[in-house]
């Protein structure tokens, strides 16, 4: 293998990973001191840092060249705000707008995490679950073989949108395997409220369950997030 290839495939050091933030001045004091010490003692790292500074300068040039929004943008915004009550209470809000509103109410981390799934929302049709919906909404909560129906408000819950291509049998199996039960929905965007525990779990524990369900069931779940 050539030296160049070795250079391309090597793992970066922790200090090298921090160089972009050092250039931008966004490291804390301790990290900044560590980077400065490393740069002072490692000429090769210092030479790499020159490239980071060049990247920083050029990205700054690109950003500055983007200019500014037009002077009337505030009027545009407040016209939209003024139009808001009618739009919010009207019946014409489309599906994607309602889903977007829901997603944007999530915390930034949850929001970011779910962005890919959110993009799918725009494209997906959820007619497959129509029968399922009927069952859920007309019985006041879908009941699996393993978990009895519980009134919403007790326990711990998540919102789930199922993959559009997944069968009802697969969903039933998924719910049974994970001891989950649908207690509500579908809301906008075919989001179902699903009970994951009969008691109120700590947020961190619920987050772990969400992460685990998401990782292990990506063929069934298109979107999942914590909810009250």
């Amino acid at each position: 293998m050539t030296t160049a290839n070795n250079a391309k495939q090597r793992e970066p050091s922790e200090i090298e990973l921090l160089l972009p933030w050092y250039a931008a001045g966004t490291l804390d004091q301790d990290e900044m001191r560590r980077v400065e010490a490393a740069l002072a003692s490692d000429p090769e790292l210092a030479s790499r840092y020159e490239w980071v500074r060049a990247e920083f300068a050029q990205e700054t040039a690109i950003g500055d060249a983007a200019g500014e929004p037009s002077p009337g943008d505030a009027q545009t915004l407040f016209a939209k705000i003024d139009a808001l009550p009618a739009r919010r209470h009207g019946q014409s809000a489309n599906l994607s707008a309602r889903i977007a509103e829901f997603l944007l109410s999530l915390s930034p981390r949850t929001l970011g995490w779910s962005a890919a799934a959110a993009a799918l929302v725009i494209l997906l049709q959820a007619g497959l679950l129509a029968g399922f919906v009927f069952q859920a909404t007309n019985q006041g909560g879908y009941q699996t073989a393993s978990a009895p129906t519980t009134a919403p408000g007790e326990g711990s819950y998540v919102l789930i949108r199922f993959q559009p291509q997944v069968s009802v049998a697969d969903i039933t199996n998924f719910l049974k395997t994970n001891k989950l039960s649908i207690v509500g929905g579908p809301a906008g965007g075919q989001l179902y409220k699903v009970r994951v525990a009969s008691t109120k779990l700590a947020k961190a524990d619920l987050a772990r369950i969400v992460a685990s369900l998401s990782l292990q069931n990506d063929k069934v779940i298109a979107f999942i997030a914590m909810t009250d």
Binding site: P12, A54, I62, G63, A66, E101, L104, A119
Partner: protein, 186 residues
Amino acid sequence: MQTTSDEILIAKIAKGDRLAMEALFARYRIPVFRFLQRMLRNEATAEDLNSDVFLNVWRQAGTFEGRSAVSTWIFAIARFKALNALQRRPTEELDEQKADTIADEADDPEVALAKKDKAAVLRQCLLKLSAEHREIVNLVYYQHKSVQDVAEIVGIPEATVKTRMFYARKKLSELLTEQGIERGWP
């Protein structure tokens, strides 16, 4: 402190205070617009989405819990809207972008001249990065977001933020190599 001021503004916005909204908008309209434009490479769409971002801030201010900085929250909203817009972008627009990229690589006199200028080549290569890489490069270098801030905005762990930035820079190295500049790393 600006962070405190932002939080106060958000609290007022949650109560329907338009002056507070104007102040917050004045503070962030340009950085958010530039972030959107960097992501979308389209000024009109960026401006359109910019007001949508702040419309969401107006509507959702009451749900802001202060677990992250206000600016982090605003950029997370902007990123979400930019990604949605990229998903919806018509094929023709994507093709146009692709054509632009191809044109950038053409060896016409202007580009040949640019090749002599390392800074100009670097700038061209930064413009060719994927949306995922553009986003992190802009947040770190231009928006001056910390590792933690980027993690919050993008919704990934801090360790992933660092490695994603590294891979963005690695891709940049590859693009530079294609333009005849070999820096050998990352």
